[in-house]
């Protein structure tokens, strides 16, 4: 309760501020009157007015400070307004003191002027927060562009367009999801700050061009990818995040409304109304009014069924928030009998995307329930007593992509192979069999040799000797006896010559060349 009183006091600020403003205005009028008329000022009146103004300003500032603690009051404008407001209070109190002192009339006058100087920007920033910084002079600016590019659609035209009076069948105009769903949401929660009157962050959201142009933070919508679209992301950020939109403290869209925006982005963020049927059609009758592309309604999985499973330590998780698809894992659960498994799973079968039942007692009843799961994509039935007929029944589920059957005693690999190829596209089945031998590498580099930079050439040198005649003896060379000298192969006729050369190459080098 006192929390509410506290907040209430803060919210009195926009009301209470009029009191010191009014008193200050009265004070200024009085001072001006006395100055013009050169009449002696009524000091008692002056003192009363200035002290009342100071106290009223003090109360306003206190209420304003309490108000600033509410969420949503952040940013430069608030800070400036607050500190200037405090300055106004301080100056007014100083003025009041000077007004009460006998010989301080000049100081008093100066303080009043200072007070005016500080009050004006305070008021400006305060009003900017509530009305936008261009509120005063906005009427002098150019006319805003029209609201929408799409043709105006009301709730009734479907009937008119579908069955025109002159009998000429015209394509029925189907209002787009943008018009029917997203636009009202933007209008209700966003346009007050991002619309024709105000464009916070240089962003406007009232025309499709503006939406796609984006604002200071870049573009807003990536067609088909809500998770990459700022328009959606900011809605789902935590409330405390500075970037969360709408600003905290302002009305927030409901979960369904956020979901509508997410769907719209995911389906391509189309702006235009779709046109049904390019070719001439028979005039449709009243019974066949074309509907707007129906967004799939989200059905929540049964909370009771989930609670029952969780009570048995089964892990149930919403693995696809968009469709509320479930992942159910029995890894931590105790042993549950087949019939009861079937009963527990049945209420959720339309939501199950991934199911792990390794080691469970899966039999006839459970297999039947699994076989009726329309969205099942992955299934793990390792170490269950399941039979091949039951597996065939389950493999018939069209959405199933992957089936794991490791350690199933009742199945042979031929059976499994048959199921794998029995449907198009083939089902991926993991049976955990022995792994194939490791692949050999495509190529291996030659043994590693190191060489300093200049010597690298030696490795690629030819192995042919550069000479045909032994440089020591002059006899024909025997390539068996060769020496690597300065990157070249020098051959000799015998071992003795090779050794002689090795010991003193300079002596024979000329001959070698």
């Amino acid at each position: 309760m006192s929390d509410a009183i506290y907040q209430f006091i803060g919210r009195l600020h926009p009301m209470v501020l009029h009191l010191p403003i009014g008193l200050f205005a009265g004070l200024m009028i009085a001072e001006t009157w006395w100055a013009i008329r050169k009449a002696p000022a009524d000091r008692a009146l002056r003192r009363v007015l200035v002290w009342m103004t100071a106290f009223a300003a003090g109360m306003t500032a206190a209420a304003g400070y309490i108000l600033s603690e509410e969420p949503g009051y952040t940013g430069n404008t608030v800070t400036l307004h607050m500190w200037l407001g405090f300055a106004v209070v301080a100056v007014l109190f100083v003025a009041a003191v000077f007004a009460s002192l006998p010989k301080a009339s000049r100081a008093y006058a100066l303080t009043l002027i200072l007070g005016t100087a500080v009050l004006v920007p305070t008021g400006h920033f305060g009003a900017s927060m509530t009305h936008g910084s261009d509120f005063l002079f906005e009427p002098f600016r150019a006319i805003e562009p029209p609201m929408l590019d799409a043709p105006p659609v009301s709730n009734e035209p479907l009937l008119e367009a579908a069955v025109p009076v002159d009998g000429n069948p015209q394509p029925a105009v189907v209002p787009s999801a943008f018009t029917t769903e997203v636009e009202p949401i933007l209008a209700a929660y966003c346009l007050s700050c991002h619309g024709p009157t105000k464009q916070r962050g240089s962003l406007a959201l009232h025309t499709p061009t503006d939406i796609f142009r984006g604002g200071k933070s870049g573009s807003l919508v990536v067609a088909g990818k809500p998770e990459e679209s700022e328009l959606y992301r900011r809605l789902v950020l935590p409330m405390e995040d500075e970037k969360h939109m709408p600003k905290a403290g302002k009305p927030q869209p409901s979960t369904e409304e956020i979901e509508a925006i997410r769907r719209w982005v995911e389906m391509g963020a189309a702006m235009e109304a779709g046109v049904k049927g390019a070719e001439p059609e028979k005039p449709t009758t009243v019974a066949e009014i074309p509907k707007a592309p129906a967004a799939p309604a989200i059905i929540e999985p049964s909370k009771e069924a989930i609670a029952l499973l969780k009570g048995r330590l089964v892990h149930v998780e919403v693995i696809d928030p968009a469709s509320r698809g479930l992942w159910i894992d029995f890894a931590g659960a105790a042993v549950i009998a087949d019939a009861e498994l079937a009963k527990l799973l049945q209420p959720l079968s339309s939501h199950v995307l991934e199911l792990r039942m390794a080691g469970c007692d899966v039999g006839e009843a459970t297999a039947a329930v699994i076989g009726s799961m329309p969205k099942l994509e992955r299934l793990d039935l390792s170490r269950t007593p399941i039979t091949i007929e039951q597996v065939r029944l389950i493999a018939a589920v069209k959405s199933l992509q992957r089936l794991t059957l490791v350690g199933n005693a009742g199945l042979t690999s031929e059976d499994v192979e048959g199921i794998r190829t029995s449907r198009e596209p083939p089902l991926v089945i993991d049976i955990g069999g022995p792994v194939a031998a490791a692949e050999k590498p495509i190529e291996t580099e030659p043994p590693v040799t190191f060489a300093k930079a200049g010597q690298a050439a030696a490795a690629s040198a030819k192995l042919e000797p550069i000479n045909a005649v032994c440089p020591v003896s002059g006899a024909p060379v025997d390539t068996k006896f060769a020496v690597l000298h300065e990157g070249k192969i020098v051959a000799f006729c015998c071992e003795k010559c090779a050794v002689s050369f090795w010991e003193d190459p300079a002596k024979f080098v000329v001959k070698a060349k």
Binding site: E227, D430, V435, E439, T444
Partner: protein
């Protein structure tokens, strides 16, 4: 006054102001303090082991590719030049000085600042090219088994980090910040996704000792920071009981234990109501978890049910508790049982000296088991929803630390580029991402930093890294701090 309001405000306000509840000043002061009260006032432990506090509900933000993570951290920083980053041109530059154009004035660490030269030390290991989904992945002779799995692996050669030393480096990799105090990656996952098996902790840590130069491993690498305590990693010991004091002492039956626990839980609940201490909820959750772990942990650690063929796959060390091979097998078993984050630490890669000898021993210990883990996960159909990460905290320098000979060299720390690999869980298989220059010193293209890596991994796990936050000390913290971009180059 409303009794609930009384409850929320009474204890703290009274203790601080000593005033009656109806005083205006008391009300204002109490209201000011109410924003300081922890958010977990209404915390309650659920039967499935989770704790729901006011505010966060665990769950994915969008459809994930991966449901769990096996993160093998190679503590000490393995040398990318001797394992993955093939630079044959360096062989012709043996003992050359590192050019200034490559080093670009980078500060030399304290350990090598005494050296007069920085000679280039090419790797003395032979590299082979293994088939993958591009034109082949080069791995050295130290990791043949891992090379054979190259079709599943994404090698990232252009990782870089800011940290130069082990403690800040591992802290940065684990928590997103070099200074301690933040929750680890596993804790964020446990907080963000919740537990999938009520009988086991969501975050398990397994440590194996190495053969080379080892650095310290602090328990805060798997700590929960400012997140509630039940998200911290649970370390399983390598020898003896995996968890201390889990077994009931002789003479105490499980039914006795249950009655004792019921009483402890009730006392803790009274304490929670009296002092509003959120960690009382943690104690309740952990006590319940410990009770369940009494049954689940012995079953987990009992590998007698594994086939001979499986055990041979992991190599000869698999039966010895505490080895990397044994931990890899345990990691697969934990993954099967729904544990969200399995952290393996392999110590001993910090080869400042005697690198060839040390790295041979280290690689021999990890090569076969890590490849076996990938194969085992794949044939059980689990690889495509399990994220496997293999990483050190930084890389090693191309220049030798200490004396360089043709058969021996050492390498110093090098944060500017290093190689990690990942597999499974939505990672693009069979590719090599990123290139370094010819000296494996600077990155030439696709630099990826640790924040980007975290953002990408969180995305694969179904979470927007900017949305997974926790308010502490007046600020919304997240794993990626204020940085991080999702990198589509890494994703399938």
């Amino acid at each position: 006054m409303d009794p609930l309001e009384e409850h929320y405000l009474g204890v703290t306000r009274r203790r601080f102001f000593g005033m009656g509840a109806k005083g205006m000043c008391g009300a204002m002061g109490g209201l000011a303090l109410s924003s300081l009260l922890p958010a977990r006032l209404a915390a309650a432990a659920n039967v499935d082991g989770s704790v729901t506090g006011a505010g966060h509900v665990p769950g994915v933000h969008f459809r994930p590719k991966a449901k769990r993570v096996i993160y093998m951290h190679m503590e000490g920083a393995p040398s990318q030049l001797d394992l993955f980053d093939y630079k044959p041109g360096l062989r012709g530059r043996f003992d050359e000085d590192l050019p200034d154009s490559i080093r670009q004035g980078q500060r030399i660490t304290g350990m090598t600042s005494g050296q007069s030269r920085f000679p280039v030390a090419p790797s003395l290991f032979r590299f082979s090219r293994y088939a993958n989904n591009q034109d082949g992945a080069w791995l050295s002779e130290l990791m043949p088994h891992t090379g054979a799995m190259a079709k599943e692996i994404c090698f990232v050669r252009s990782m870089h980090t800011d940290a130069i030393n082990h403690e800040p480096g591992i802290t940065f990799f684990q928590t997103g910040n070099q200074q301690p105090g933040r929750p680890s990656f596993g804790s964020w996952i446990s907080y963000g996704l919740g537990n999938a098996n009520a009988n086991l902790p969501a975050f398990v840590v397994l440590i194996s000792q190495g053969f080379g130069n080892m650095q310290a491993l602090s328990a805060r690498f798997w700590g929960s920071g400012f997140l509630p305590g039940e998200h911290q990693g649970c370390k399983l010991r390598s020898a003896g009981d995996p968890v201390l004091f889990l077994k009931d002492p002789p003479g105490v039956s499980r039914a006795d234990r249950r009655r004792f626990l019921d009483m402890v839980v009730e006392l803790n609940q009274r304490e929670m109501a009296r002092s509003l201490d959120p960690e009382a909820a943690t104690r309740i959750a952990q006590a319940e978890m410990a009770y369940r772990m009494q049954m689940s942990v012995p079953e987990l650690a009992d590998i007698s049910g594994e086939t001979e063929e499986t055990l041979n796959l992991y190599g000869p060390e698999v039966r010895k508790a505490g080895t990397f091979a044994s931990n890899c097998l345990l990691a697969r078993r934990l993954a099967e049982r729904g544990v969200r984050f399995i952290q393996l630490y392999m110590r001993g890669w910090d080869a400042h000296n005697n690198l060839p000898g040390e790295i041979r021993l280290q690689s021999a210990a990890v090569d076969q088991p890590q490849a076996a883990l990938l194969q085992d996960l794949k044939r059980r159909g689990m690889l495509d929803d399990t994220l496997v990460i293999w990483a050190g905290e930084f890389g090693r320098t191309v220049y030798s630390q200490g004396t360089l000979t043709e058969t021996n060299y050492g390498r110093d720390h090098h944060p500017r580029c290093f190689t990690i690999w990942m597999a499974g869980g939505g990672i693009k298989p069979g590719v090599t991402v990123g290139t370094t220059d010819d000296y494996s010193y600077n990155i030439v293209d696709t630099p990826i930093d640790v924040h980007d890596l975290h953002a990408t991994l969180l995305n694969l796990l179904g979470m927007d890294h900017e949305r997974l936050t926790f308010r502490s000390e007046g600020r919304d913290f997240r794993l990626t701090d204020v940085l991080g971009k999702v990198r589509p180059e890494l994703m399938a």
